[in-house]
């Protein structure tokens, strides 16, 4: 006989981390309208991130950037059948409570929005909705996991169309994991100190050779080749923000990035899907940046 439903548990790490695993090999796309959400779903996005302005516009407009209007998020939830994520400001646990009440599927505690707390991130253990957080290095990734994050993404430099920072962050995280697996037990204490991260998680990663949650790439992906580069560097899925809807022809580019993420090891397919996509977003060099979003988060 089937067990009674009161024996079921929701909001556990098993259920939350397991959901993060389902996005592997996929593309999560930033959208600002239901219409864009439908284009993303048609192109093969495995989820959409609902936000008011894509990072490139946040960068251009300046000012304080906050959680999106619930009405806009609900409009997107109604428009598509795939999971819908939304962003809360770093440390703004009330925005997160509101997003949980709206039943968004995943919350991104994101440096793309203006931080609400200069010291603390959200205590993510308190929520039944899973969280994704950005990281620039292994220590930051482990601190976010210790706060309850169920998915880590590189921060990259959002809204630039420039992959260089995401590459730096991915290489830093995967490179340090490789080194960590070579450390002896005495060295792990020093690693924990240098990473400013809790020893048990450091020891666990040294043992398994991977983060206990999936690692995705975000920040600066603008082309199918960028997505495949992130995947070959060890990311298990990609977030694309401004790269799609700030390009000349979003739908075919979105579709091509999805195919490149699946077939990331197949250069013939990558060559085929990269053809004739029109102009990518213009992009910004790191030397020309006034505001570095990746510096937000502690």
């Amino acid at each position: 006989m089937a067990p009674a439903s009161n024996e079921s548990s929701t909001g556990t790490q098993l259920v939350k981390r397991g959901f993060a695993d389902m996005f592997r090999g996929g593309v999560i796309m930033d959208v600002v309208t239901p219409e864009q959400a439908r284009i993303a779903e048609e192109a093969g996005a495995c989820a959409v991130m609902a936000l008011e302005r894509v990072p490139a516009d946040i960068r251009a407009d300046g000012g304080v950037s906050r959680m999106s209007d619930p009405e806009m998020i609900q409009g997107i939830q109604e428009a598509v059948t795939i999971p819908v994520m939304a962003k809360a400001r770093i440390g703004h646990f009330v925005e997160a409570q509101i997003l949980q009440a709206l039943k968004v599927d995943f919350i991104d505690e994101s440096e793309v929005l203006t931080p609400a707390d200069e010291t603390h991130h959200i205590d993510k253990w308190k929520f039944s909705i899973p969280f994704v957080c950005g990281a620039t290095n292994l220590g930051e990734a482990i601190r976010r996991i210790s706060e309850g994050a169920c998915l880590i993404r590189s921060k990259g430099e959002a809204g630039t169309g420039n992959i260089v920072e995401a590459v730096r962050h991915l290489r830093s995280i995967t490179g340090d994991i490789r080194k960590l697996t070579q450390a002896d037990s005495a060295e792990l204490f020093d690693w924990a100190k240098k990473l400013q991260a809790p020893l048990p998680l450091v020891a666990e990663i040294a043992e398994t050779g991977e983060l206990p949650v999936p690692l995705f790439c975000a920040g600066g992906i603008a082309t199918p080749a960028d997505a495949a580069l992130a995947m070959q560097l060890g990311a298990q899925a990609v977030f694309v923000g401004s790269g799609i809807f700030k390009s000349a022809d979003p739908a075919p580019r979105a579709k091509a990035i999805v195919e490149a993420t699946t077939h990331y090891m197949d250069a013939d397919i990558l060559a085929k899907v990269s053809r004739g996509l029109g102009a990518p977003m213009t992009g910004i060099g790191m030397d020309d940046l006034d505001l570095k979003l990746a510096d937000r988060g502690w």
Binding site: Q100, K103, D105
Partner: protein
């Protein structure tokens, strides 16, 4: 026997790890050539609409349908079960499926992620494992941990479909010939019962 896992999108890596625990080597399947080289297949969890779309774009739909219909042992989990089904309710507009398992499924039937859950299931294993030892073949049931994530519901089953497990009286694990499907994620728990049943098909 070469075992393949469809690797277009989703949690295919976790299936590979589960099969590795059972001593099975696995290849990832993304192209027609890779599909031709496998003798049995797992279709993983993930986003069913994306997997269907990518299978079409990679020209895999026809060949998958043909191989599975002609008896290739296949396990579909969650989105994989949706891909196998003859009818998909609440799909993305124009969402296609393989139509090789006579069930009707409703996507996201339990709600959004906040409603995802894990539970213990009683699994009836009497009709499986024909080749293994007599003890395993005898009718008995096993309790397994089942993780349901934005799970589909099987709302109807054809006459030749056996129900191997139910949750709140609704089918969550079914078999038709050499095809088995779960609406939950056996690859997320450490319990490899379902994967062993698949290898015994």
């Amino acid at each position: 026997m070469t075992t393949g896992v469809l690797a277009l999108q989703g949690a295919f890596v976790l299936h590979i790890q589960a099969l590795a625990r059972l001593g099975e080597e696995v290849v990832e399947v993304r192209t027609l050539e890779e599909l031709a080289a496998v003798d049995r297949l797992i279709i993983p969890g993930g986003e069913s609409s994306v997997m269907a779309m990518m299978a079409e774009r990679s020209g895999l739909m026809g060949q998958l349908r043909e191989r599975i219909s002609s008896g290739m042992p296949t396990l579909g989990t969650c989105a994989g079960a949706i891909l196998l089904a003859t009818e998909v309710l609440d799909g993305r507009a124009g969402q296609t499926s393989l139509g090789v398992l006579d069930i009707s499924v409703r996507r996201n039937a339990f709600g959004r992620q906040v409603d995802s859950f894990s539970t213990q299931l009683e699994l009836s294993v009497e009709s499986l494992a024909p080749g293994s030892d007599p003890k395993a073949r005898a009718p008995h049931s096993e309790s397994i941990t089942a993780v349901f994530i934005r799970a589909p519901a099987i709302v109807s089953t054809g006459d030749t479909v056996d129900v191997l497990a139910r949750f709140e009286d609704e089918p969550v694990f079914v078999r038709q010939g050499s095809v088995i499907a779960t609406t939950f994620h056996p690859e997320l728990s450490d319990d490899d019962t379902v994967h062993q049943l698949f290898l015994d098909l």
